[in-house]
Symmetry: C2
Subunit: 334 residues, 2 copies
DNA sequence: TCGTTTTACGAAATCGCTTTCGATTTGATT
DNA sequence: AATCAAATCGAAAGCGATTTCGTAAAACGA
């Protein structure tokens, strides 16, 4: 591995001069700068990022804490991650997956300090563990995606308005028995969606059709299937369903099909997220589309801003969603 | 940030002694070792990994080159990645996503050298670009997942036998017009699958039913849909189809449904991969299951072995698959 | 008791780079 | 020609660890 020292020797300059030339300092003449850069290129010099971060006290690395149901197989989060990653790279940073090796005594915070990450994106659906809380309260710049509670330094989609919009769409199309399949209601996102549904139903004087549970819900296919069944058993068939995720919606569809009903003729369904699955299932699933691209882009922008500005506190960034109507909805004209 | 120096002061030892105590050197007495460790713990000392890698010349970081259709949204690769990540973490390493910032002059190889990653997993479906080739030919330990060509230092599922097994299953259940939807046939994996199909058809004296194309195929839903259509237009309806991915299989199913046929009564379908989608679509998709867990685990094991042994050359590791029969297959008893 | 191992520790070099600050050279000004 | 400011460069002190090698003290053997 060629170092700055070799370049120094070959160019008859000092190490400091080489470093400055390579980093565009102004107190190096054009001539020597050119000479040095030329030699560096010929030698295929690559600065040792490790040495750089040691002295610069910044690593150009963004950490990511990713604790999510299904892990990377979770299409929703990995869609955002994909966009985040692209943007992080565009900005010359790398993405480091942080591990929580507690047995080893290396929790997230220690890990971040050790590896000198500049900032961290925390993606953690469900209640946070101690280890994540510690990290958030630390001196390190942390941005949270879909936070557990409503806090600054976070980014998420506008759940409340999304559910209002979806319910209103069904309502405007003459649905009156609208059910809701909620996710983890103990969590900020899940709770907001449920409240939005309850508000809508109340303000439009409709029947409340949801499965009242205090337990944590996941956002899975199975959960959608089971919850739909519970709702059905208790209230009979609704004429519209809004689910908290696409997977849940598809699970609900499966149950409805199993009962011998057809979609959208007997019942309309709207999901949440807009993962690829929506286009694949039959009928194609209408959904509340989250703007993955934008979320990833903004998350990158905000986090890097926080890094630059010493972990400055920024307001939550709320991203608009878009109702996407496909084939799982029906206008009831009776 | 507490450093080794502070510990040295508080314990009246030298820096070297502290370092040795913390790293379990044998030339430190039990007594001082205990004392030092105690102080380190009280201070919440975390070794600076950057400084460590500088002098140790290893970073405990595994790089990952990930160039894949759909990126992280590709459920097949992200399933393996998920398992790989878990195993890497268990071994005390971190996962660093490498970027290929060519505009910046930082191709993969330079990037790896700069960041001092210990080894790299290359996940790159389709033909490799120059930048990846350079990396592979370098001094760095590189393991390839689903390589472009049949090479050492790689890991992949046993495509040939998989296709044989799937075709044989259909054959044994009295299917005689078996079609094949191939992926990228210019690539080792894609080519092997296609050859396996052709071999089977020939050895059983069956009609060859596949869409002959020299173009690169992706493994997408749309590709499955379109290819099924091409096959149908040319040969009429087969009685069985084996596809090169689950997404393609589901795409084919969509086309078949659109034509008004039903699965599995009119035609049996078998996919490849066994992603979650198989359980979600109707009918549930039979498939050739890849052992994601094992692949990730072995990939980790092999790569770390390569790192330890100076990039030693290891034979390709071929992972067994398993035919999983669900509802998309039918035994033809006419 | 005296020489010889062992044991336990520390000084210092090193990893590859950045950055401050002082020194020298150059050029401009009178 | 003398003076002074600006331009250009390099020495050296870090950054936070590891590791070699030398030395003092303790333990040992005869």
């Amino acid at each position: 591995m060629v170092t700055i020292e070799e370049i120094a020797k070959l160019s008859n300059c000092s190490i400091s001069t080489v470093s400055k030339a390579l980093n565009g300092y102004s107190d190096i003449s054009e001539k020597t700068k050119k000479k040095i850069i030329k030699i560096a290129n010929e030698l295929g010099y690559v600065p040792n990022a490790t040495a750089q971060s040691l002295v610069r006290r910044r690593s150009n690395t963004i950490g990511i804490v990713y604790e999510v149901e299904y892990g990377l197989k979770n299409l929703f989060f990995s869609s955002i991650l994909e966009s985040f990653r692209k943007n992080i790279e565009k900005n010359g940073h790398d993405l480091l997956f942080l591990s929580n090796n507690i047995g080893n005594g290396m929790d997230y915070l220690r890990h971040c300090r050790s590896k000198h990450v500049d900032g961290v994106l925390v993606v953690s659906a469900g209640s946070d563990q101690e280890s994540i809380k510690k990290l958030i309260d630390s001196e390190i710049a942390v941005l949270r995606l879909d936070p557990d509670i409503d806090v600054n330094n976070s980014i998420y989609s506008d759940s409340y308005n999304s559910i209002q919009t979806a319910c209103k769409y069904l309502y405007d199309n003459n649905h009156r028995r609208i059910a809701f399949i909620h996710g983890d209601r103990g969590n900020f996102i899940g709770g907001t969606r449920l409240n939005s549904y309850l508000d809508f139903v109340k303000s439009h004087d409709l029947e409340v059709l949801f499965y009242e549970s205090l337990y944590n819900h996941s956002y899975s296919f199975e959960e959608g299937y089971n919850t739909m069944k519970l709702i059905y058993d208790k209230y009979g068939l609704p004429d519209g369903v809004v689910a908290s995720s696409d997977l849940m919606a598809v699970g609900a569809m499966a149950f409805i099909h199993d009962m011998g009903y057809s979609i959208p003729e007997d019942i309309s369904i709207i999901g949440f997220d807009n993962i690829q699955l929506c286009e694949i299932v039959k009928p194609k699933l209408s959904t509340i589309g989250q703007n993955f691209e934008l979320i990833g882009e903004k998350a990158c922008e905000i986090l890097l801003h926080m890094v630059e500005n010493k972990n400055e506190i920024v307001e939550p960034f709320v991203v608009d969603t878009k109702l996407i109507i496909r084939d799982s909805c029906h206008s009831r004209l009776e």
